[in-house]
Amino acid sequence: MASIVLSNVDKIYAGGVKAVNGLNLEIKDGEFMVLVGPSGCGKSTALRMIAGLEDISGGEIIIGDRVVNHLPPKDRDIAMVFQNYALYPHMTVEENLAFGLKLRKMPKAEISKRVGEAAKMLGLEQYLKRKPAALSGGQRQRVAMGRAIVREPQAFLMDEPLSNLDAKLRVSMRASLNTMHERLGVTTVYVTHDQVEAMTLGDRVCVLRDGLLQQVDTPQNLFDKPVNLFVAGFMGSPSMNFVNAELIRTEGGAAVAFAGYKLPVPDSTFADKAGLDQYIGKKIILGIRPSDFEDAVAANGHAGGWVRLPVRAEVTEELGSEINVLFLIDAPPVQHQDTVAAADAGDDEDATLPLVGDKSLWTARVNSRSHVRPGQNIELVVDTHNLHFFDPTSGLAIGHAANARI
């Protein structure tokens, strides 16, 4: 086991395309680090550079205490799991697991011990004599994992290992990945484009975009304190609602005004977000998580201080425990490059409505007790303590610690 440190790593392809741009990342010993981002953001390239399958154009990669820049992949002591499994089809499961050990001239007894242990851990014992063609997708995936486990490497590298599985299997494999990591405690770098996977698996998550690091943090911090519009829009499903708004001062204190609504901004927010007071009287981009809404009727008891927002539900998505309410607000959609990029990338659960005039579609996640139906007028309450404010030109979150330093 070892830590992995990337410092100022660049990857420039022939033709001058910069796939990874000055990436600095420190993955601690035993950590589960998830690299997430839309396709083409350089996350797979970064992983393949750690593996040694791609040369790096600049910078330094350190695994453990060795600089591995020019070390061939087999000497880096890492194991990789691929999206399409990449099993050897002419070998049985047992031979697949043992292949890497055999090439490393390990004694036979040790090989069969490790293969046996891995097979037991992954529930593959009864399939050891089968060829991969006779296995289901999930079983093949487990063999691919087993091939990595038996090597007992310093680090696991996983390139979207679950995306070829069907949805249900993916969830259960996610859980077994989690337990496997708990048990083995091996440093793991995991690449995915699925932000739900990123949130549920990662000790920390690294959000990349166009080869640039956006934010590295725990999943909860990414969700609560996104550093910019892109991260805010990319993480979380359904994704955050944005609107161009203005920060104003009224008799009752500060408020944010948009589309005919006025939401008071609590004083604690100003205390949290240093520098936000300088934006009073200026335009900002406001972000509200769908989960910070609630149906006023369903939430009657404990939503006393919350602000009410009368809207008309256009579409409802009933998820059993919750309902996603899609409604239009009377303001043009935010066309900041960051929100557009994030919306393209996120898995689009939102139904696309033909937008009438200059209106934007928002989503509220309310409790299923609400029984709201499409076309109904309902009152939503907003938790104003969790409002997100972004600078309309830079797209950076106002008052975020990481942005204050710059």
Partner: protein
């Protein structure tokens, strides 16, 4: 009602068409089977029977024509020569073409496509055109009356098509498998030897069968290269035999029929490989 009506209307032309197809198949089959059947039966006749009763069943059945051939050491030597030359050709072709196909399929280097085109151009080079310079070359290399004088040129002429088929197949193997092998500790050649070749077994089988069959049927080159009967292959032997025993037609028929048997047997075993591999190469290459 109307539905059954249309169905009946459809069925009639289909049956007609089936009949037509059957007729064509029967005619084509007859074109092939009748001469062979004539040969098989003719081999069981004496020459006198052949002239008096060319189309009937032999009476009495003369077995000596076949037994003579099967007990002749010349015939067995020719079978041995043909087999040896065919197997050696196939081994050389497959070994060389697999390595070349591997490089063409999985390595990116400057001039790769140009080189590959150079190989494929060999396809457009008819063997007969090359026979004279080839003969001169073999003579100066001292390879006349030497099996290598047949094996090496045959292998060279079989290279283009073999490389094309194998490269096409190698390209279908996903890059991740190679990367997984690299991470497991394979060198480039290790990947070729331990992963790629075993995975390409169907394609290897196909090109091997092709090479064997082509070599087995080759007549021109062994005829030119082998002067001494010691190295004659089956096709040359058949030709020489029919020249030598031109009056003994029954014996010639028996010889030809027996000479066909090894090739037929090989086809029967390898036919599936040949067909499936050829189509696989066609769609994936």
């Amino acid at each position: 009602m109307s539905r059954t009506g249309t169905r009946a209307r459809v069925r009639k032309p289909r049956r007609l068409r089936n009949l037509g197809l059957h007729a064509i198949v029967v005619v084509i089959g007859a074109l092939i089977v009748v001469p062979i059947g004539y040969g098989v039966l003719g081999g069981f006749k004496s020459n006198q029977q052949l002239s008096t009763n060319p189309f009937g069943l032999p009476s009495p059945w003369v077995v000596s024509n076949y037994t003579d051939v099967l007990t002749s050491p010349d015939f067995w030597r020719q079978v041995g020569n043909s087999t040896f030359i065919a197997v050696a050709t196939a081994l050389i072709v497959v070994a060389a073409a697999a390595l070349a196909g591997f490089v063409f399929a999985r390595f990116a280097f400057r001039g790769r496509e140009l080189l590959f085109t150079l190989f494929t151009m060999g396809l457009m080079f008819p063997f007969a055109v090359a026979i004279l310079p080839l003969f001169v070359l073999l003579r100066s290399l001292g390879l006349l009356d030497n099996p290598l004088g047949v094996i090496l040129p045959q292998a060279a002429f079989a290279l283009p098509v073999t490389i094309i088929i194998l490269r096409g197949f190698f390209r279908t193997i996903p890059g991740e498998v190679e990367e997984a092998a690299t991470l497991d500790g394979c060198s480039a050649f290790g990947f070729f030897w331990r992963i790629l070749l075993p995975m390409a077994r169907p394609a290897i089988a196909t090109v091997s069968v092709l090479a064997v069959v082509n070599s087995w049927n080759n007549f021109f080159l062994p005829l030119v290269v082998f002067n001494s009967p010691e190295w004659w292959t089956i096709p040359v032997g058949v030709q020489q035999f029919s020249g030598q025993y031109s009056t003994d037609t029954a014996k010639v028929l028996a010889y030809v029929i027996v000479a066909m048997l090894p090739a037929l047997a090989f086809y029967a075993v390898a036919e599936r490989q040949l067909i499936s591999g050829l189509t696989a190469g066609a769609t994936k290459g």
